[in-house]
């Protein structure tokens, strides 16, 4: 059976992989708990559940036995000399024997690895085990009652028939017990699989998010270094300033891998560094204007998001245009959302629908990644859209919900 096989692989996973899962749980910002503590707690709960089930199951069986005996006594008054206390004691003994037998069958099941088997190979084993256990059960019960205690034979029927009947009866009971036991384990494995799958999905999401986090564009980096080399001769103080800006940009970009969010203020500082460096390259071909509302500055944004938009604006609005252009960056709060827009000269050739525009190769990987990141972080509550703005401009607009808002 597929499920059981898959679970088998799960339990046979190498140790280091399990350790890695534990480590990733530790790293997770939500939890300071250890995976191993949880596992121990789970084991403890399972043990208690087992004891409870065993006691209540066999207890219920005992009660039913008693009731049947009482009912039988009412219908068929017992013969003279019948010892009711003795009958009750033997019932208790039989039930306790069942409890002990099944309890010691459990470690055997684990040792023989039956929990990893499919139903097909499990069923004959269950029947066989039930048959053997039932035989032991009966031998102990009858042996003690009639062998050791030398009690008189309490049945009207032939001993052979009684032995076979009670053997089959015990066997049926034990098959029931084993079925319940394995049902529980299969159910548990299913759940564990589900949890594992959820964790996998979460891991994939985390990895995707990490991969989508934009890094400094290498083309920009090496071009800047090249300009810097020239600038050292021409304007040493400006070259020194540019080195500092490049350093803080690189630092921010490297750290952004670890940060989930930053304030817009911090993000804009990097954007300023970036634009100053691009201005060294493009000189008067690149012009910049800002319009940042004070209330927007303290808001939280994903790191490198605005940077990606501005990089894109410089690429399509300035670099590839002979006459260069102006990049306009604005941020304000509107209706429980932070709205950031970056406008650059140019034309939007793709439809104004962001998803399909972003899918086109012309708009590049950067914006598509930014859009995916927003989706992973905020679901449908955040958007990134590209518009054709008036006067031959393209506008990229991001809307991020403010914390605590449902918009």
């Amino acid at each position: 059976m597929a499920i059981a096989q898959a679970t088998g692989e799960y339990t046979n996973r190498p140790r280091d992989e399990l350790a890695a899962t534990g480590a990733s749980l530790l790293r997770h910002p939500m939890g300071t708990f250890s995976a191993f503590d949880t596992a121990a707690k789970l084991q403890h709960t399972k043990e208690r559940l087992y004891v409870l089930c065993q006691l209540s199951g066999w207890g219920l069986f005992l009660v039913i036995q008693f009731s049947f005996a009482r009912a039988a006594a009412l219908v068929n008054p017992p013969q003279l000399g019948h010892d009711q206390m003795l009958e009750a004691a033997s019932m208790v003994m039989v039930v306790l024997l069942g409890l002990v037998l099944t309890h010691y069958a459990r470690p055997l099941i684990t040792r023989w690895g039956w929990k990893q088997l499919g139903w097909r190979s499990l069923s004959p084993r269950i029947v066989l085990m039930a048959a053997i256990l039932s035989l032991l059960w009966m031998a102990a019960g009858f042996g003690y009652s009639y062998g050791v205690l030398q009690l008189p034979w309490a049945y009207k029927s032939n001993p052979a028939i009684v032995v076979i009947a009670s053997w089959l009866n015990g066997m049926g009971l034990l098959v029931g017990w084993l079925c319940i036991y394995f049902f529980y384990h299969i159910y548990e494995q299913l759940q564990r699989l589900q949890v594992e799958q959820l964790r996998l999905v979460a891991n994939i999401k985390e990895a995707e998010l990490r991969a989508l986090k934009a890094q400094v564009n290498p083309h920009f980096l090496f071009n800047s270094l090249n300009s810097l080399r020239a600038l050292i001769e021409e304007d040493a103080p400006r070259a020194r300033e540019a080195v500092t800006r490049l350093a803080s940009m690189l630092r921010y970009s490297l750290q952004s891998g670890q940060l989930e969010t930053v304030t817009l203020e911090e993000e804009l500082r990097t954007v300023e560094d970036y634009l100053a460096l691009e201005q060294i390259r493009h000189e008067n071909r690149l012009r910049v204007s800002w319009q940042i509302a004070a209330a927007a500055r303290t808001q939280i944004v994903p790191p490198m998001l605005v940077q990606t938009l501005v990089e894109n604006a410089v690429k399509y609005g300035v670099s590839i245009r002979r006459e260069g252009g102006e990049v306009m960056i604005s941020a304000q709060i509107e209706k429980q959302s932070l709205i950031i827009s970056v406008i650059n000269p140019g034309e939007l050739t793709a439809p104004s629908n962001a998803a399909s525009a972003l899918a086109g190769s012309s708009t590049g990987v950067g914006l598509r990644n930014a859009s995916e990141r927003l989706k992973l972080l905020y679901g449908d509550r955040a958007t990134l859209r590209l518009f054709s703005a008036p006067a031959g401009c393209v506008s990229a607009v991001v809307s991020i919900p403010l914390p605590g808002s449902s918009a």
Binding site: N226, R229, A230, S319
Partner: protein, 240 residues
Amino acid sequence: MKALLIDDERLARNELRRLLKAHPEIEIIGEAVDAADALSKVEALKPDLLFLDIQMPGDDGFTLLEKLEPPLPLVIFTTAYDQFAVKAFEFNALDYLLKPVDPHRLTGALEKLRISRAGPAPAAIAPRRLAPEDKVFVREGERCWFVAVKNIRLLESEGNYTRLYFEEQKPQLFRSLTAMEERLDPQHFFRANRKQVINLAWVEGIEPWFSGGLLVKLKGGAKVELSRRQAQDFRERMSL
């Protein structure tokens, strides 16, 4: 050697200028800020060597090469970080410098040019017929080639473009067949029909064909039909 620097960034051009000071044999005759500027300056100044940036506003460096009238000057690409371009170079003997330029790499690249230019420098008297050793620049998708004219077996007209057949490749050239034919040496190339020009050096076999025509087989497998009139010309040419 006369060189033209093509880069949209002033600082990048200055940097290259400074690096080339160590090489007095390179004479910088001009600078261009984009492909359009470069196109007119190449025509006007007839440089022997281009230092060519790939990413520029307007046309990129490759497109400029496609538009330049062959024979092409020697080319050294300069690029900051362009995986696409570097991949394109891997197919060829083209040289490229990564910015910021390492002075030793620059010396190496110039050294390589000196070796590759075994013959006399391409005479800058254009437009003239292309010599067998002259090269044309072709690009298709991610790959690009400087292909020597003598290696082209067949040229096929495709509207305003010409498909070149050489080695295992058949990329499209950004030029009409008629324009190409004007530049090819009639000693080596023959207009077989309205659509095709063949390199006579690659002819392997000739068979009679329908109504007085000929079927010419080229090395490499291509078969080209000649009409009766064309066949007449061909016979005359081959018997000479």
